[in-house]
């Protein structure tokens, strides 16, 4: 758990971060979202003391970060950056083992942990352990970067635009894996990005920042459907349609789906907590002309059928409200 209280940073009289407070629960992912220069990276770096705060406090697992040596603090926090920063003179194995070695882990333990982590990020250890960073693609490098951050099993991980340098296809793939990675489920994470889709995709909560201040903090659904000010509205405006499809689930529009009888077999089943965007995408990829789908409630009690058209009708209905 991370608690940030009245955090402020001034650079030569200019206020980069202006008295912000938020907290991230254990296992939760908070997105710091905003345009460049809004103070999101500065906020992140104040948490592992790469930048020292002008005033305010940060507690990690209840401990004030000022009470620890910066080096000791950072060894307990995973840190992933956009430019990755793998050591070019180290092999993949040595790169992943940096923090365990700093913590003077037993050699055997470090070796088995390194293998385990590479498996976890989808890089077969036997192929990759002895490679140098220059022999890896950008996506592979960022996987190693992630493995390196997780090496000593920190409870808190900070991400600074981790997928920013990747091409769109690799980025989407790694984002998907990221969501499904079990070892990340228990981590308390803060992720900085300027990409609204990434924010909605990865965040449990989003903290939208502008000029060093928090404009709104809440779930993606809250920010999109109940914005608190014009800035929040404007920030999502350009991609609103797609974002709405992303944050709404079948359950949200269930009552507006026209109740009709369909003839024929349903091609696919969806639970009611599926995102509309995912459902529509899945239906697009079936060979049938007007495929029928089946929606189940999470307890498997209610089942009914509809088509893409039915879902779109309900979606527009919901938007109108």
């Amino acid at each position: 758990m991370i608690e940030v209280l009245n955090l402020t940073k001034k650079f030569n009289g200019l206020t980069a971060v202006d008295n912000i407070s938020f907290s991230v629960e254990k296992g939760e992912t908070l997105i710091l979202l905003g345009t460049s220069g809004c103070g999101k990276t500065t906020t992140l770096k104040m948490i592992n003391r790469l930048i020292e705060a002008t005033s305010g406090k940060v507690f990690i697992e209840g401990k004030n970060i000022q009470d620890q040596k910066p080096e000791e603090l950072r060894k307990q926090i995973g840190y992933v950056i956009q430019s990755i920063g793998l050591f070019p003179h180290y092999t993949v194995e040595q790169n992943v083992a940096i923090v365990p070695n700093l913590l003077k882990w037993d050699k055997k333990q470090t070796v088995s942990r390194t293998r385990e982590l590479l498996e976890l990020v989808g890089l077969p250890p036997d192929d990759f352990l002895k490679r140098k960073p220059e022999e890896l693609s950008g996506g592979q490098q960022q996987r190693v970067g992630l493995a390196r951050a997780l090496a000593a099993d920190p409870s808190v991980v900070l991400f600074d635009e981790p997928f920013g340098a990747l091409d769109p296809i690799t980025r989407r793939q790694i984002q998907k894996e990221f969501i499904n990675m079990e070892s990340l489920l228990q981590k308390t994470m803060i992720l900085v990005t300027h990409d609204v889709f990434e924010a909605c995709e990865l965040g449990d909560k989003i903290c939208l920042m502008d000029e060093g201040k928090i404009k709104q903090i809440g779930t993606a659904k809250e920010l999109i459907f109940s914005p608190q000010n014009d800035l929040v509205i404007n920030f999502f405006q350009a991609n609103r349609f797609q974002l709405e499809l992303m944050v709404l689930t079948l359950k949200d529009i269930m009552e507006d789906i026209p109740k009709k009888e369909y003839k024929g077999e349903a091609v696919q089943d969806f639970y009611e907590n599926a995102r509309i965007l995912d459902v529509l995408e899945a239906m697009e990829n079936t060979p049938q002309k007007e495929p029928i789908l089946r929606i189940k409630s999470c307890d498997n009690k209610k089942i009914f059928q509809t088509t893409s058209e039915g879902i779109m009708t309900a979606f527009y209905e919901k938007r109108a409200k």
């Binding site: 790469l50 060894k75 950056i81 920063g85 003179h89 923090v99």
Partner: protein, 519 residues
Amino acid sequence: MNFIEFIFTHQEEIIEQTGEHIGLTVVALAIAIFFGLPLGMMLTRYKKFSPSVLGVIGIIQTIPSVALLGFLLPLLGIGVTPAIVALFLYALLPIVRNTYTGIEEVDPAVREAAKGMGMSDLQILFKVELPLAVPVIFAGIRTATVINVGVATLCALVGSGGLGEFIFRGIALNNVYMILAGAIPAAILALFFDMILGLLQKFIRQLIKPILILSSLVIFVIIPFIIVPSFFVHPFTAGFTAEFMERSDGYCGLKKVYNLSMNTVELDPGLMYQALKEKKVDVICGFSTDGRIRAFKLKVLKDDKHYFPPYHVSPLVRGETLRKYPVLHEMFSKLADLITDKKMTELNFRADYKKEPPTKIAEDFLTQIGFEVKKNKKGKADIIIGSKNFTEQYILAHIFKQLIESHSDLSVELKTGLAGTKICFDALINEEIDLYPEYTGTGLHVILKADKEISNTILRDEKKVYNFVKKESKKRYDLEWLQPLGFNNTYALMMRESQANKLDIETISELEYFLKKSD
């Protein structure tokens, strides 16, 4: 004797000098690495000092080697110590700057990641920045090595040995083989070091530790052996120029005639007097009209066995120039026998001690003997006057220039400061200069390389020497020796007046007696 024979007969000396050369280079380099690497690292941590520190080291780099050796002479004396210090200073810049740049150029993302993972500043320096900067640092060491091999030749000027000895003797004596015997091994050494370091570059990450260990070994083990003795042991030493050491009327003959044996070191002619004054040496081979004799309170030892041949100065002119401007004959005849030994010493003294410019000294002199001096001739030079690189020659060149320009329509350009007889003479033969002041004795031994028999028969008679060189130069090179100016600037051994008086030494024979006694 051809070059190959020369190499074989001088084999031992070449090997010895090459050894000294390598020693100087490697020791200086080790010290430079030992101090340069940490200094470069420190600068990356205290960046505000880096422009000033790198600036100072850069300025040192621009000081000409001979000037730097001159600065070091009063502090460190002569021999190996000042040479190593000079080489160290020259090697410092590439090493410090490359260390600094190499570390600065490490990808900031790598540094941020290292810091973000909890590495301390020292861990980042030694585990990340330094290993990544090694190729750049190594390139700096390589540059420093090649610079050092080159500069080490100049260190022969302060008596530190090395291949420079051959080169400077060769230049002084107009002996191409001797120059090559020093220059070729020096060039090969530079290429060899560069090649070896180039090969090692591949294994550099494994090598950087042994290199550091070796360089600290050199510092703590070898240096004391070189430097400490030089502070304690100070025998009666003679500092001679490379030219004097080798030429037939120099030290070799002197040894035989006076049965003399001394500790000798080779010194640059410009640094020699200072070295004597600073008590770094006890005897030097000066010139009898040098102004510094008076300025530094030196005593010229009497040549009681008349060993040194006459060195009367004359303008040495190309025959073609004379035919083109016959007026030169008449003009220089006005100057004949007008400058006495005493007069020349005074003129030199004014330049060396009172720091008056040669132009003014020349003008005063000409006015004093009743010549009108007109100034500021412009336009294309009709005549180019050269000179060697010591005071007397500068003054004479200016006297010649003002004399010609005041009494004819000819305009004169000066090319002064040519380093040694060989360079002056070659310039004359290649028509790059038209005339320069030359000494009859030098003409006899160095330019004409007269046989022993001939030189022995005429050596004691200044007239005969003059007539011989005049006739032979005309015949062989179409060069004309105009009338002598009067004074005789011969070689002379000199000591500090105070020491000579204390030891009661007046003549070279007495010096020989003293040396034999103190042995």
